[in-house]
Amino acid sequence: MAGTKHKTPLLDDLKEGKWPSFVKELERAAQKSPRTDDLIGLLEKSYRDHIPHWKHGGMAGVKGYGAGIVGRFSDSPEDFPGTQEYHTARINQIEGFFYTSDVLRKLADICDEHAGGLFNFHGSTGDIQILGFKQKEAEELFQKCAQLGFDLGGSGSALRTPSCCVGPARCEWANYDTLHVTDNLTREFQNEMHRPTFNYKFKIKCAGCPNDCIASGARSDLSIVGVWKDNIRIDQDQVAEYAKKFDIKKYVVDKCPTHCMDYTDDKLTIDDSNCVKCMHCINSMPKALRPGLQKGAQIRIGAKVPMVQGPRLGFILVPFYDINKDKEEDYTFLKDLIQKIWDFWDEYGTSRERIGELIQRVGVGNFLEAIELEPLPEMVEHPRANPFIKFEEYLVADEEEESKEG
C-alpha cells in the first residue's frame, strides 16, 4: 500500500500484526481521498499529543432533518486542511445487517464520490456510517443514498435507528420476527428519528430470545426480547446423543438458575412452571431442546450508559405479550405503548433525561399508572424492604375513604 503523505511513525506501527489494520484501511481510503490522507495526519498528531484534535461544536445537516449527521471540525485545519470539515452520516442499516454486493458497491461509490471513502460498518447503534464529507456535500450525499433506498438515522434528541438480531432469518431460537418489527417501527417513527423533539435520545432494540445478541438489555431504552410461555420442547433421543458428549448434569442441569431441571435415568425433565427462560439449557443442546410454541415477547425499559445518574440495565415492563398476534395488527399494542411512554416522557422529563432516569425520579409505580400498566411482581427483583410507603389515601373521621390524589 502506498501510505500517506504525512509522516506517521506511530500509526505505521499499527500496520503490523496479525489482526487487520485500520491504519491500512485509512490509507486505502486516502489513496483516493486527500482529506482522508489529512485525517491520518491529524490522527498521528493525536497519537503524539495524547489528545483529540476535533473541535466541539459546529453544525452539519440536511434540510428538513435535525438529525442523522454529526458535524466534525478539526482544530488544526491549517496543517490538515482536509479535516477542516469531516462529518459523519448515520444511515439506517438494513434490518439484520443483510446486504447485497450490488448495494454495497453503490454505497462505496457514493462514499468515494461525496465523502472520505471511509465507513464504519457499523456504528455502535447499528447505523452504517459514512465519514468525511463537508456540509456542502451533505445534500447530495443524502439524496444519492436515498435514491439507493437508504435514509438517515437519528442523532441528538431523537429516536435512534432501531436495530435487531438476525432472528428468524438465521436463528432457530427467534420467538418473533425481529427484522419485521424493527423495520415496521423504523418506518412508523420516521419523524421522531429525523426531527428531534424528545428530551434526549431514545433507542429501541429487538432480540429474538433472551440470549440478547443485540445487547438490547444494556443499551436500549426499550428492549424487546422474544420469549415463550409454554414448555421447552425436548427430544429425548437427542438428549441421549448429547449425554455421550458431555456431562448433562454438570453442564446443563446444575447450571439452571432456578434448578428446575432434572436428569435421572437418562431422562431429562423440566419443571417449566419454574423456568425463567434463561436459554442456557437450549443453548447447550440445540438439537435436543427448543423453545416452546406459545411464542411472544417481553419488554424491558430504561437501559442506558452512566451519564448522568449512573448506568442502568433495562427492567421488565411487560413480562409477556403476544407480539406475533400484534404483528397481524400492525403492532398496535406496541406502538400505543411506545406512544404512551413518549407522552409521559414529554410531559414530565427534563432536558437530557433518559426515560430510565425519569422513571427512577418519579417512581416506577407512578410511571406505570401513567402508561396504564399494572404493577407486577415480575418487574422487581424483590418488593421493597424499607417501610417508607407513600400511601395515597387515608380514612377521614366520618369513615369515608378519601383519595388525596383525587
Partner: protein
C-alpha cells in the same frame, strides 16, 4: 409515513431498504424454520432447517472502520461464493452465508489471503465493539481503533480459535459516554479523564447554556459564578469525577489532558440471560496511561485477566461467573491488581454494593 417530496423529487423519510430484498434465497425459504445449528470449526457454523436445507456461515473479523475498497473486496467475495449476499453481525464482524458446503474452504482461503481472520464464534474472543476515539470524536480520552488493533494483534489466537472457557466479549469506549456500550462486557476498556475541565471563563456565556451545564454534572460540582463581570461557572475540583458531561454540554469546559487522560478496565459484565442475570462490568483497574501506538499497559492488564480466566474458569463459565465463583478478593489476588478506595462504589447507589454478610474467604 414516508413523505416523498414529489415537487423537487427530493426523497425523505423513506426508512431503510426493505430487508426482504436483501435476504439470500435460502434464508427467504427457511425464514423462521431453522431447527438447530452446529459449530463446525472456529468461525464456521451450519444452520439446519425443517426443510432439511443447510446454511453455512463463515464469520470474518473486520476493523469496522473500513475503506470503500474493502467494501468492494467483500462484495466480490460475496458474488463469488454467496450469490452476492452477505451480512454483518451485531459486533461488526462479517458473515458470509453459503448454501454450498464445498465453498467454505475456498472462501476461507481467499478471506485469509486478504488478511482477514475467520473466527469469533463459540468460546472465542469476539471482535471488540468500539467507538470513534481520537480518529473522530472531540470528547475522547483515548483512541479507539488503535487500542483495539493493539489488543487484537495480541490476542489474535483467541479470536481464530475457541480455546477460552466461554465467549469473551470485549468492548472499548473512548469516554464515559460509553458509546461502545461497554457497561456490560466481559472485559471493558474505557477512556478516562482524570483532571477537572478547564473553565474558559470568557467563553462560557457565549458558548453555553449555564443552567444545563450545571444540571449536567452528576455530582453537583459545577456552580454558577460571575468571572470578570461575565456570567460563568466554577468547578469544585474536590467533587469533580471527571466525567466530561459538562464539556459535552458546554464547549467552554475542555477536559482533554495529555497527561491525565488514560484508560480504566472493567470486568465481568454480561448481557445474555443465560444461567445468570445480565450484569454490569465492575472496576478492575482504575487508570492506565495512554501509551500509543501499542498501549502496552492496557495489553498487559488484559492479558493478566485473560490468562487468569483461562486458567481458572471452568468450561462454560463467562468471566462474571468465574469471578462470582472464586470471589472478588481472589480475583484481585491472582491478577495482582491493587484494590483501592476507588473500587468501592461511592456514587448514588454505591451503598447497595457493600458486602452485608460475614462471607469472606479467609
Amino acid at each position: 409515513m414516508p413523505d416523498v417530496d414529489k415537487g423537487t423529487v427530493r426523497i425523505t423519510d423513506i426508512g431503510p431498504p426493505n430487508y426482504e430484498n436483501f435476504l439470500p434465497p435460502i434464508i427467504k425459504k427457511n425464514y423462521g424454520k431453522w431447527l438447530y445449528h452446529e459449530i463446525l470449526k472456529p468461525g464456521v457454523m451450519v444452520h439446519v432447517s425443517e426443510t432439511k436445507d443447510k446454511l453455512y456461515t463463515v464469520r470474518v473479523g473486520s476493523t469496522r472502520i473500513v475503506s470503500s475498497d474493502f467494501v468492494r473486496d467483500i462484495s466480490n467475495l460475496a458474488d463469488k461464493y454467496c450469490n452476492g449476499y452477505l451480512r454483518f453481525t451485531t459486533r461488526n464482524n462479517l458473515e458470509f452465508l453459503l448454501d454450498k458446503e464445498e465453498n467454505i474452504e475456498p472462501l476461507i482461503k481467499e478471506v485469509q489471503a486478504l488478511g482477514f481472520p475467520v473466527g469469533g464464534m463459540d468460546h472465542s474472543l469476539g471482535n471488540i465493539v468500539h467507538t470513534q476515539g481520537w480518529l473522530h470524536c472531540h470528547t475522547s480520552a483515548s483512541d479507539a481503533s488503535g487500542v483495539v488493533k493493539a489488543l487484537m494483534d495480541e490476542f489474535y489466537d483467541y479470536f481464530v480459535g475457541d480455546k477460552l472457557p466461554a465467549k469473551v466479549r470485549m468492548a472499548f469506549a473512548c469516554c464515559l459516554n460509553m458509546c461502545g456500550s461497554v457497561g456490560a462486557s466481559d472485559i471493558a476498556i474505557v477512556g478516562m479523564h482524570r483532571r477537572p475541565p478547564t473553565v474558559m471563563a470568557d467563553r462560557v456565556k457565549d458558548l453555553c447554556e449555564i443552567p444545563s451545564t450545571i444540571a449536567a454534572c452528576p455530582v453537583d460540582a459545577v456552580r454558577p459564578k460571575t468571572i470578570n463581570g461575565k456570567p460563568s461557572v466554577e468547578i469544585d475540583e474536590d467533587r469533580c469525577v471527571f466525567c466530561g458531561n459538562c464539556y459535552t454540554v458546554c464547549p467552554a469546559l475542555p477536559i482533554a489532558d495529555p497527561l491525565n487522560d488514560g484508560l480504566a478496565i472493567f470486568v465481568g459484565g454480561k448481557v445474555a440471560n443465560a444461567r445468570t442475570k445480565p450484569t454490569f462490568s465492575k472496576l478492575a483497574v482504575p487508570w492506565l496511561p495512554n501509551n500509543p501506538p501499542r498501549w502496552p499497559e492496557v495489553i498487559e492488564a488484559v492479558r493478566t485477566i485473560l490468562e487468569a480466566y483461562k486458567d481458572g474458569a471452568r468450561r462454560g463459565e463467562r468471566v462474571s461467573e468465574w469471578i462470582e465463583r472464586i470471589g472478588w478478593p481472589k480475583f484481585f489476588k491472582i491478577t495482582g491488581f491493587e484494590f483501592t478506595k476507588y473500587h468501592i462504589d461511592d456514587f448514588r447507589l454505591g451503598e447497595a454494593t457493600m458486602n452485608y454478610s460475614n462471607y469472606a474467604r479467609l
